[in-house]
């Protein structure tokens, strides 16, 4: 445990010292400012449109907040993949890892220390950005979406799945190959999610199965879709009025699969790193 904490500490130190944290916080700040300004103008319109019913006003603000959370989800997944993408492969290629791995430490501790550190950073990043989005929605639009307590943890889990894949891939692959692979998986999940959505709207079970297979290959998009479903009012879900409304809700089993998927990926990464010639 002590070894893991030493590696965790060094990794966090590195993120701070190499201005990685500063850069991500600046980009998060820029996004929040942009979102705040946009939200302000839309909310101005919505709140002053006398002809608009309370329900429609509510839906417009919910849509806007979900759009902000969708952007958060995207920024978080990019950050979660890119932050740790070269942490193992880069150190293996440069030889930095040799002095660490020749110490009396388990190789698994090196992987776990880095995984913990980057998971913390990714979840903290997600927490900062999503809190910003929700505070903007509350302060400007006087609106808070429902189901946050169920939705936000799913989005945080999504970040952890991406961090895990990025680190596990880096234990076996070169940095660029690893990046391409993880984003390729994201692409599969993204397209699969849309195929499933359209398929369920037109009632095509074969195409729906394609979506399910895609979610099994990469369950992150299913996590987002379940989170988005939980964070909108029931009326919007029923009417399927926004791109965040979905035909078939990803099941709780899919959430558990995501947890299992990340665990397997981490195990796979540790095994790869243990056998790797450094």
């Amino acid at each position: 445990m002590r070894e893991i904490l030493t590696i965790l500490h060094l990794t966090l130190h590195e993120a701070a010292r190499r201005r990685i944290l500063t850069a991500t916080l600046i980009s998060a700040g820029a996004f929040l400012v942009l979102f705040g300004v946009g939200f302000h103008f839309v909310a101005l319109n919505v709140n002053h449109d006398i002809g608009m019913s309370v329900m429609r006003r509510h839906m417009a603000l919910n849509f806007l907040t979900l759009a902000g959370l969708y952007a958060t989800h995207f920024l978080t997944l990019m950050t979660s993949v890119l932050l740790p993408v070269d942490t193992l492969s880069g150190e293996i290629a440069s030889g930095v890892v040799q002095t660490v791995a020749s110490k009396p430490v388990h190789r698994s501790s090196i992987v776990l220390g880095k995984w913990l550190a980057f998971s913390l950073v990714a979840v903290a990043y997600f927490a900062v950005v999503s809190t910003g989005v929700l505070m903007i929605g509350r302060a400007i639009g006087h609106f808070t979406p429902p189901g946050l307590a169920q939705g936000l943890p799913l989005m945080a889990l999504e970040a952890v799945v991406y961090v895990t894949l990025s680190i596990a891939g880096g234990a076996r692959l070169a940095t660029v190959t690893n990046g391409i692979l993880v984003f390729g998986l994201y692409g599969i999940a993204f397209i699969g999610g849309w195929v499933e959505k359209v398929a369920s709207a037109v009632g095509n079970p074969a195409a729906e199965n394609v979506g399910t297979v895609a979610s099994l290959l990469m369950p992150t998009e299913a996590l987002w879709q379940r989170a988005a479903f939980l964070m909108q009012p029931s009326i919007m879900r029923e009417l399927q009025m926004s791109p965040f409304s979905i035909g078939s809700l990803p099941s709780v089993a899919m959430v558990w699969w995501a947890v299992g998927y990340a665990t397997l990926a981490l195990w796979f990464g540790i095994q790869g790193f243990r056998k790797r010639a450094l």
Partner: protein, 302 residues
Amino acid sequence: MTAPVIETQRLRRRFGEKLAVADLSITVQRGEVFGFLGPNGAGKTTSLKMLLGLISPTSGSGTLLGKRIGDRAARAKVGFLPEHFRFQDWLTGRELLHFHGRLYGLSGAALKRKADELLTRVDLRDAAERPIKGYSKGMTQRIGLAQALMNEPDVVFLDEPTSGMDPLGRLLVRDIIHELRARGTSVFLNSHLLGEVEATCDRVVFVKQGRVVHELVLAAESAGLEVELRVDGATPELLAAHGTLLSSQNGSARVRVAHESALPALAEALVRSGARLYAMTPHKRSLEATFLEVMGEDQRPG
């Protein structure tokens, strides 16, 4: 006799089609400074990494400090300075030592004290609070050397420790190696600088294509001495009587003798025979000459 610190039997490592180390069987004793020599591509670094558990052998076996190589516990008493030492260069020198010290299990006052002591020893106290990326090559090697000594190791692996160092830096490394030996620490030295190996090692092995092809005990001068003579009127038979005559022409001759003790006898025999002896200069056979001979003519610069 105490158990050897390193002992390997037929270690072999293959990378796909390439056989990096064919058959490595070596023994290193406690307190010994052991030189590992060979041309580039001879498998030296791969051998060293196998001993440190960074690479697992394809076959063969070995022990490090009495434990199977690759065993984590054995590495607690091992120090390692890799070739082209690269590390977390965003850390300061002191932070690097603290980090590596923690990996060895040090903490608190003991960790601080050891880091201070080594920063002084490698003459980097002034630069301790500066990021390593601003260090010169020699300073980088020195902080790397300090990192390898944080745990007061029983055996230290140094892979090209003086590459990029100025003469003062080299002298410092040489002094540290002598100190380590005096303390009973074994040193496994991988170096291309034969003069340096000659000055520090007790014993060297020559590796070629992943095999030990020759072993030389430097302290015992078993390679013998070459004697240069300026002498008139000496017969070849007389010159060869105490060693091997290598060449003789125009009043100068070269003779190889087994040991220094042969010199007075040779001088006496020459004088007695009536030959006129002007000069007699013994030379230790250079390691470079042995290296070239052992590696053979077919070697090309790596």
